[in-house]
Amino acid sequence: MATFKVNGVEQNLDIEPEMPLLWALRDELGMTGTKFGCGIASCGACTVHVNGNAVRSCVTPVSAVEGQDITTIEGLASVAAGANPSAPDLSAVQQAWIDHQVPQCGYCQSGMIMAVSSLLASNPNPSDADIDSSITNVCRCGSYPRVRKAIRSLAIA
């Protein structure tokens, strides 16, 4: 039995301990916001948070997240809001993504948003070099210039 919390809700799944978290989320829980891109932690489309840190779920076996708190794109805003009833429906990163019209096809953006949210939580004012080294997600539509603009708009000067 694999036990972990997803977006604050405890899940008990009768699955193999080596099943990657990505497939537990998508196929077992039907939470399809987290995407399959490469299966080898290269592209970042599957990025989720484990205890607030960005993790590539396609190579993370569920045994490695036993008892941990998982946040996915579906829960990003509500987890950020916590118990605050007046919090907006979107996190600041998600809102910046709309303001800067970042996504194109959008497939990589769940992972991109999760990676950027984690970066900004640990480094609120990242330099360009910090962005380049931390945000290694692949976007075939080339949304990168807008990703950078959106991050800069969120950075605390």
Partner: protein
């Protein structure tokens, strides 16, 4: 702007009051018959609909796929503006995959310009694909949605609906139509101050004949077009709710992992499944003609189980073939020179014979995979004598027909479920049937939905590739050093022959194509032949410029006297890039220009080498003349996107063949431009007011040549083979810039 009515408008009453305005490619003999055909889905092509309901809700149906290009926003903007609707009242819906919403007008638009559209013919012999077949598609490709469906259908339907609503209001008020005006979804009679909403007039409008001719707005009258309207698909793409084909999900769903014949075109001989069937969740091993699949209750279980399945595929002549052999074959083909004419002007042979100087340049580019972020997938459910299909596709209607045929179900008993596309780039066009066919054949064995997914490795190794091409050039100069002849032989097949043409005023040109067929399956890849051909032609033009002793920018300007739009984008891009001004030490600028899909694009790349002598692209300055901009923000986004897609190909893109099969597996050995490689991109839209040009593709072609041309100035090395990662720039001798 008055347009001739080349197609015919249709309208029909809605149950509960309201009007549906559509647009047909065939002439209805009368209005009643048109309505009857509309109701039954007869032999006509309605490309767009605007639905106006009593409560003033206005729905625009979009017959194109949204794959990030913003078409779900730009097309409704065009309809809403001509209708004089309030943008806030517009509801956007994907048109269903039924033949009433086939977008055959797009094909006609292409047919008018070039004959059969190259991006659709793919490897299929054009003669084997009838126009009628192509008309019954719902294709998104060829950078065509806005310039064809938008211009010929969306705007016309919007303008017609507006005229009909005015007529209804005028009748009701017993005033002349020209005393009325429209604004924000209402008809107004200014003299009396009366106003009626479109919703209040819609039931009456449904009884009218649509106008014979409609008057489209002059750009000065636009209220929505030309504005940077936020895309309607973006909110769902930031909160995880956007649905892609791969996200189809149900409790009882099964999943298939598949191994396709690794050498293209070979068949499955035998399978040894060992104890795989006893594994948890595994339901069936399915053997198909060219593949073996494991079906399980989770994709991961299916994929893991497939690793335990041994399979043998038949041997083939291609088993020992490598990329080296394929390129050697190209060389032989070029040497034999059994060619077909692409373009001949003047007397190139004569000019070569009498030349004072001849330069040569032989170029090659490798095969490329599309590598869309969403791996190829298709979910099929056969039940109760019908078939349902979920997949991300650039042609919903065509896929529906294909799945129905393979499932053995009548097309009217097939249901297509739309989704967003996680990238298209040509991979998801019709005729690239793998995964679709396989998913249907696998699902035939079950009565629950089965989702077949290609792994990233399969996606990369079982693509339909951008063709590898070899292209040989010669240029002849007279005694005054003026270029007199352009001689070009390249390997085909070429899908858009115009891609190899050059706009420059060289009096003698001979451009011919020779056979370049191999066993590797090919298809359209963002910008089709333009991406390879522009690298070749714009690099060799640069060679000619340097040999002429002229600055590459000035050379192009001088040779483009008859092409003011080309000159304008070159001028805008060069000036914005600071061409001719002092650059940081160790930096250089390369320039290239290309017309494709109705738009003209100039790009200037600022390049340098890093401490390991690897190319760094600092900035790309781009000027695009796409006629005018329906949504300037999506124009910029598409231009940025096309440049980065082309830059990945220029820097890293290379699919090689070893032992008949693709050698690359996943992103680490088919590398992508990521944040760290991404240059600053500065986009300038040049509004010439000419016909709308395409946007999804035209910024891709020039970038490889722009970067290579800059590297030549920096290093003295002429790049004649891509990708750049294979070049050693450690021994560089910068050339003296003219």
């Amino acid at each position: 702007m008055k347009i001739n009515r080349r197609r015919f408008l249709l309208s029909s009453a809605l149950v509960g009051g309201g009007v549906l305005i559509g647009y047909s490619a065939l002439k209805p003999s009368n209005h009643r018959r048109a309505n009857a055909e509309l109701a039954t889905g007869g032999e006509h092509y309605v490309t767009s609909f605007i639905k106006i309901e009593r409560n003033n809700a206005i729905t625009v149906y979009v017959p194109h796929s949204e794959m990030g290009q913003g078409v779900h926003t730009s097309l409704p903007m065009m309809a809403a503006d001509e209708l004089d609707a309030a943008w806030e009242d517009i509801i956007v819906e994907q048109a269903p995959a039924i033949d009433l919403f086939a977008n055959g007008d797009l094909v006609k638009g292409f047919a008018g310009e070039f004959g059969l559209p190259g991006f659709l013919t793919g490897i299929v012999n054009a003669s084997a694909v009838s126009i009628a077949e192509l008309m019954n598609l719902q294709t998104t490709g060829g950078s065509s949605s806005v310039r064809f469906t938008g211009e010929t259908a969306m705007r016309t339907a919007g303008a017609a609906a507006r005229q009909m609503l005015i007529e209804c209001a005028a009748n009701r008020w017993s005033v002349a139509g020209d005393e009325c005006s429209t604004e924000l979804g209402h008809v107004q009679h200014n003299a009396s101050g009366r106003s009626l909403s479109y919703g209040e007039l819609a039931a009456d409008a449904a009884l009218l004949e649509p106008p014979e001719n409609v008057t489209l707005k002059d750009p000065s009258q636009f209220t929505i077009m030309g504005k940077a309207i936020s895309r309607v698909d973006i909110p769902a793409k930031v909160d995880g709710t956007a649905n892609y084909g791969i996200d189809a999900h149900s409790e009882d769903m099964l999943y298939a992992a598949i191994r396709l014949a690794p050498v293209f075109g070979t068949k499955l001989v035998s399978v040894d499944a060992g104890d795989v069937l006893s594994r948890r969740g595994v339901k069936r091993i399915i053997e198909l003609e060219d593949s073996v699949a494991v079906v399980a209750d989770s994709y991961w279980r299916a994929k893991e189980a497939l690793k335990g399945v041994k399979s043998q595929f038949e041997s083939s002549d291609a088993d020992t073939t490598s990329s080296v052999d394929l390129f050697a074959g190209f060389e032989r083909s070029l040497a034999e020179d059994k060619n077909s004419k692409v373009l001949e002007t003047g007397d190139t042979e004569g000019a070569m014979d009498s030349a004072s100087d001849v330069i040569e340049g032989n170029y090659t580019v490798p095969y490329l995979a599309h590598a869309a972020m969403e791996p190829m997938n298709c979910t099929v459910h056969l039940h109760d004598d019908i078939v349902e299909v979920w997949t991300s596709t650039q042609d919903a209607l065509g896929i529906k027909g294909r799945v129905a045929k393979i499932a053995g179900v009548a097309e009217e008993d097939a249901i297509f479920h739309h989704s967003y596309l996680g990238g298209g780039f040509g991979r998801r066009l019709p005729f690239n049937w793998n995964v679709i066919d396989h998913a249907t054949l696998i699902a035939r064995e079950f009565d629950v939905p089965v989702k077949t997914v290609l792994s990233r490795e399969d996606d990369m190794q079982q693509d339909y590739y951008r063709p590898a091409v070899a292209s040989n050039f010669k240029a002849a100069f007279d005694a005054n050093g003026v270029v007199q002849a352009w001689h070009n032989r390249f390997t085909g097949p070429i899908q858009t022959p115009g891609a190899s043409h050059i706009p420059y005023a060289i009096p003698n040109k001979s451009i011919r194509v020779v056979d370049g067929d191999t066993h590797v399956p090919i298809a359209a890849w963002r910008s089709v032949d333009h991406s390879q051909q522009t690298f070749f032609t714009e690099s060799f033009v640069d060679e000619i410029a340097h040999r002429s002793g002229k600055n590459p920018y000035q050379f192009r300007m001088d040779m483009l006297a008859d092409h003011p739009r080309h000159r304008k984008v070159l001028e805008v891009a060069a000036e914005a890039a600071g061409y001719g001004e002092n650059l940081p030490e160790g930096h250089a600028l390369g320039i290239a220009v290309q017309e494709s899909f109705g738009s003209i694009v100039a790009e200037v790349a600022e390049v340098s080498l890093d401490s390991n002598n690897r190319p760094v692209i600092h900035k790309v300055t781009c000027a695009i003349d796409c006629g005018w901009a329906v949504n300037p923000d999506t124009v910029e986004a598409q231009v940025e996107s096309g440049i980065i897609y082309g830059l990945t190909a220029a820097l890293y893109g290379e699919i090689t063949i070893e032992n008949g099969r693709v050698a690359q597996n996943n992103f680490p050995d088919y590398e992508m431009v990521r944040m760290a490689d991404t240059p600053e991109i500065d986009v300038h839209i040049v509004e010439s007011g000419e016909k709308l040009g395409g946007l999804g593709e035209p910024s891709t072609p020039p970038i490889a040549a722009a970067v290579s041309n800059g590297l030549y100035i920096l290093t003295g090395q002429r790049v004649r083979e891509l990708p750049l990662k294979n070049h050693d720039f450690s021994r560089s001798t910068p050339i003296a810039q003219v």
